[in-house]
């Protein structure tokens, strides 16, 4: 009788063995990032971070008991309509589980409409102006409260209370400018000039002249990417006749290779990740990244945010226990990565409490001048 029972038990297990032996289809993540155009550097860094996370997760056994992750990549060339087009293609044809990207706010608004229409989670990992919420959008982003609020008093105290704002002519710099105005007013400072510019301007000399004429002691530069490199390089050759402290929003380690050190030295930035910060979590990430992409490659906050977003997606799927988009979207809330000072926590408003660091470029390196602590912005859902 016991032999019969053993044989019966073995037969019952056979279907399980058969199901285990079959390959699990990949969980596809549609990546829409600018791999060309004005914000190419942020797109490339973000893609590398995502790739690293996917490779590491797959090497460690995948998601939810063996499902591998797969990135399906499209270059939206920093063009919002392309972001729409590719998002639609990735959802409707490639049947991706989630979207990752883009970079510019215009492209993000465009893409999030498509994502929300199709109920697909969208993971966004770049600075923006805040107050963009929908159920499917996750913003691992530095928003004005993360850095404008801490750095204005710092600049005011150390360099005086006169400011000049210069940035791109689109929504993010517009909103940042509004916030800066508010913070400068709080410290009793003055904004002596606000100016917005189109993309791909060749010669910024007229701008420098206006800055010089303004008498401002602090320049708040909201001009990331290729144009920002160009601006800083040209500015270093212009004589303002007085000390001028530059704070470049979204300036990261990629600037070290793109901008001559004489143009970059002394420039401030504030980021949620600076690769030289000696914390175990940060250094582990830097080591992994450089092992994968080479020691000479820049490790930036865009790399880390997109890396972390992939891990958050993994955690959400495993918390949901299924490959259902709605359940994964619900499961994203409350997730945390890292611990201690480096903790990043996803809030109900789909934004993050982030550790912020004031950094300064000096002698071909970007170093932390002052940890600003974990910044907890207000609820980004309008009306809350």
């Amino acid at each position: 009788m016991s032999l019969f029972l053993k044989l019966f038990a073995v037969l019952l297990c056979l279907p399980l063995l058969l199901s285990c032996s079959s390959d699990k289809p990949p969980i596809r993540v549609g990546v829409v990032l600018p791999l060309s155009g004005a914000f190419q550097i942020y797109g490339e860094q973000g893609l590398k971070g995502a790739q690293l996370a996917v490779e590491k997760i797959n090497a460690e056994g995948g998601v939810l008991g063996g499902y591998p992750l797969e990135l399906v990549v499209r270059d939206n060339e920093t063009i919002p309509a392309e972001a729409v087009r590719y998002s639609r293609e990735l959802i409707q044809i490639e049947n991706v589980f989630a979207l990752l990207g883009p970079v510019s706010s215009s492209a993000r608004y465009a893409m999030s409409e498509v994502a929300a229409q199709h109920k697909v989670p969208q993971l966004y990992g770049i600075d923006y102006e805040g107050e963009h919420y929908n159920r499917y959008l996750i913003c691992y982003s530095t928003i004005p409260e993360h850095y404008v609020s801490p750095i204005i008093p710092y600049l005011n105290d150390n360099y005086g209370g006169s400011f000049y704002i210069f940035g791109y002519d689109y929504i993010w710099p517009h909103k940042m400018s509004d916030r800066i105005l508010s913070e400068v007013e709080k410290v009793g400072g003055v904004v002596s000039g606000i100016e917005f510019t189109p993309f791909a301007v060749k010669d910024y000399t007229p701008v420098f002249q206006r800055i010089e004429a303004s008498g401002a002691r602090n320049l708040l530069l909201i001009l990331p990417g290729n144009d920002g490199f160009n601006f800083l390089t040209q500015m270093s050759k212009f004589s303002f006749g007085r000390p001028l402290t530059t704070f470049a929003f979204a300036a990261d380690e990629s600037y070290l290779k793109a901008v001559p050190s004489e143009a970059l030295d002394g420039v401030y930035t504030a980021l949620h990740f600076i690769s030289s910060w000696q914390s175990p979590a940060f250094q582990r990430f830097v080591a992994l990244y450089q092992e994968r992409f080479g020691e000479q490659v820049s490790v930036t906050y865009s790399s880390k945010s997109h890396y972390d977003l992939i891990y958050l997606l993994k955690a959400a799927i495993e918390k949901a226990g299924s490959l259902d988009r709605e359940q994964a979207a619900s499961a994203l809330q409350g997730l945390k990565l890292y611990s201690g000072q480096e903790t990043v926590a996803l809030r109900e408003d789909h934004h993050f409490d982030l550790p912020m660091f004031l950094g300064q470029f000096n002698q071909k390196s970007l170093n932390v001048i002052k940890p600003l602590g974990t910044i907890r912005p207000s609820d980004q859902r309008v009306g809350h």
Partner: protein, 596 residues
């Protein structure tokens, strides 16, 4: 083996039936998807056609001469929802103006600089020009036909004939004329694949273009206007079809449109063998079918409105006013809706079905064998054993069974059988005893003793001549004992005599009562001398017997014994007779003695 065969046949039938069900499910799902998609697409294209008529009406207004073509284009697009953009081009096809619609899909479109670019294909431009030239050539004829038709209608109305079939037909013809009088029929074509990107539109690949000439108020050709179908709406429509199939459990699906004229795919695909679709014109799969060429199950439908949107109606008032064949629109090949499910889906499902069927079959075989083993061990084997025991009992060779105790019906059967066998054996022993034993003394009776003697003699011969000696024993003066003490005492004396003799015999020796007070003994493997010795001991023992236990101490009995060796070649009767003679001699010699 027959059981395995039966199970496998059943499994095969079950698999085939369910495989058919799976295939039917695929076909039904595809049929539903393609039918609904066909209906939706026909309606979509029909709506676009009607919207373009509204655009045409707005673009052909001559009452506001101060309004430029671009202003009219802006107004024209406002009353539509299915077009992304309209471009105006000069008579050479060079773009002069782009107007983007306010569709939600255009929210993030950035205006692109395309002035001077030729966005219309050479074929489309040529067709537009041809149509215009033919229309312009026939315009006086058309106007004359219109006037004539108006006159006819007025004449009928003046005589009160407003309800006749003839009146209504004339009205319809006038209505048809109006449309063609305003402008030539539109040219419907597919855009070049890179047009959308050039215009910054939020979709890729080709879309349908609706084009017509821009006419001055004197019907002069000023250029052309082309409306771009909002392909995102088309994509969304097809995506709904795909999602419905997803919700039915299908994963590897493609839903696409193919231009029957060029074989061009209007919507990208992921699973279908795209290269095969480019080879020749794809046949219509009106009913879903498995296609090895395309790598899966396909259903397709020609979207009839895509063929019909270039109007086929013509003015056919009578032979004198027939419109030239050149104005008759060229038949368009149209687009075909293709819904596809990868054969891998079907294969995976069938493979899984096969695995399940095999596993269940194996399980069934194992359970069946288990039941057979169980039945064999618990029912069949005991019945067989019982049958064997019954046969043994019938043959008189009953042996005790080793049936295990059980509480079921079979156990009860076994129990009953055992009891019956024991009872039979007991009665058999009783009968045997009755047949072979002397009732009083319990020793063999005459018949049994004679039979035993025969058997012993046969055995002695077989064993090479073992000696057998016969003793005849007779109680002395037995009648006197009976007379003096009664028959009861006499019987007791006989019984005691037998017990006394038995105590002096070996196991192999036989004792039988062959007369009233006469007994015979067979001493096996004993010669005469040994027999005499035994006989003497018996005599002495009997002589010394006391009957104190029955209160007769004075009772004494003696026996006389005749001894004779049974020769091998003589019968028992002869040997017994000789022993009897010796007995007689013992009696004559004074009794209470042994004579040999």
């Amino acid at each position: 083996m027959p059981l395995i065969v039966a199970i496998l046949v059943l499994a095969h039938g079950y698999y085939k039936a369910h495989e058919r069900l799976i295939i039917d499910h695929f076909k039904q799902s595809l049929l539903l998807a393609v039918s609904v998609g066909e209906r939706e697409l026909n309606y979509f294209i029909d709506t676009r056609d009607r919207e373009f008529k509204q655009i045409s009406a707005a673009m052909s207004r001559c009452d506001r001469v101060e309004e430029s073509a671009s202003e009219r284009a802006l107004w024209a697009l406002r009353y539509t929802s299915g077009f992304s953009a309209m471009i105006l081009s000069d008579t050479q096809g060079r773009t002069t103006h782009v107007e983007l619609s306010s569709n939600s899909s255009n929210r993030f479109v950035l205006r692109q600089e395309v002035e001077g670019e030729r966005l219309l294909s050479a074929d489309s431009l040529a067709e537009l020009r041809y149509r215009y030239d033919e229309w312009y050539r026939y315009l006086p004829q058309l106007k004359a036909s219109e006037q004539q038709k108006l006159s006819e209608l007025n004449a009928m109305a003046s005589r009160g004939e407003v309800n006749s079939h003839r009146f209504r037909m004339a009205q319809q013809q006038l209505f048809d004329m109006k449309e063609v009088l305003n402008s030539p029929y539109p040219v419907i074509s597919l855009s070049e694949a890179d047009n959308a990107k050039k215009l910054g539109l939020p979709f890729s690949g080709s879309t349908l273009l609706f084009s017509k000439p821009i006419l001055g108020c004197n019907a002069e050709l000023l250029g052309y206007y082309t409306a771009y179908l909002d392909k995102t709406q088309l994509e969304d429509l097809l995506f709904i079809t795909k999602q419905n199939l997803h919700s039915n459990g299908f994963a590897e699906i493609d839903v696409t449109l193919i231009d029957n004229g060029t074989g061009q795919l209007l919507i990208p695909v992921r699973w279908i063998a795209e290269e095969q679709m480019k080879v020749g014109v794809m046949q219509e799969f009106y009913l879903p079918a498995l296609s090895m060429k395309y790598g899966g199950m396909v259903a397709s439908r020609l979207i009839e409105r895509s063929q019909q949107i270039t109007p086929v109606s013509h003015l056919h008032l009578d032979d004198d006013h027939r419109i030239d064949e050149a104005l008759w629109p060229k038949p368009k090949p149209g687009v075909q809706l293709v819904v596809f499910i990868s054969k891998k889906e079907l294969k995976d499902l069938c493979d899984w079905l096969l695995v399940k069927v095999l596993l269940w079959s194996l399980l069934l075989v194992v359970i069946s064998f288990g039941l057979i083993l169980y039945l064999s061990n618990h029912i069949a084997s005991p019945i067989v054993a019982l049958r064997k025991q019954t046969a043994l009992l019938a043959a008189g060779e009953y042996q005790e069974s080793d049936f295990k105790a059980r509480t079921d019906e079979i156990g009860e059967l076994f129990q009953t059988f055992e009891e019956m066998a024991i009872s039979i054996k007991s009665k058999e022993r009783q009968l045997t005893a009755l047949a072979t034993q002397d009732f009083l003394t319990g020793v063999m009776n005459r018949r049994a003793f004679f039979s035993t003697a025969f058997e012993e003699h046969q055995r002695a011969i077989r064993e090479g001549g073992t000696d057998i000696t016969i003793l005849m024993v007779d109680l002395d003066h037995f009648k006197q004992v009976n007379d003096q003490f009664g028959h009861k005492v006499g019987d007791q004396a006989l019984v005691k005599l037998c017990r006394s003799i038995e105590m002096l015999l070996r196991v192999e020796d036989k004792l039988g009562r062959i007369g009233g007070e006469e007994f015979a003994l067979l001493l096996i493997d004993s010669n005469e001398a040994q027999a005499i010795d035994i006989a003497e001991r018996i005599r002495s023992s009997v002589e010394a017997m006391a009957f104190d236990e029955i209160g007769l101490p004075e009772l004494q009995i003696t026996i006389s014994i005749g001894v004779s060796q049974w020769l091998h070649d003589e019968s028992f009767e002869t040997a017994l007779s000789r022993a009897d003679e010796k007995l007689y001699m013992a009696k004559q010699a004074g009794r209470n003695r042994v004579e040999s």
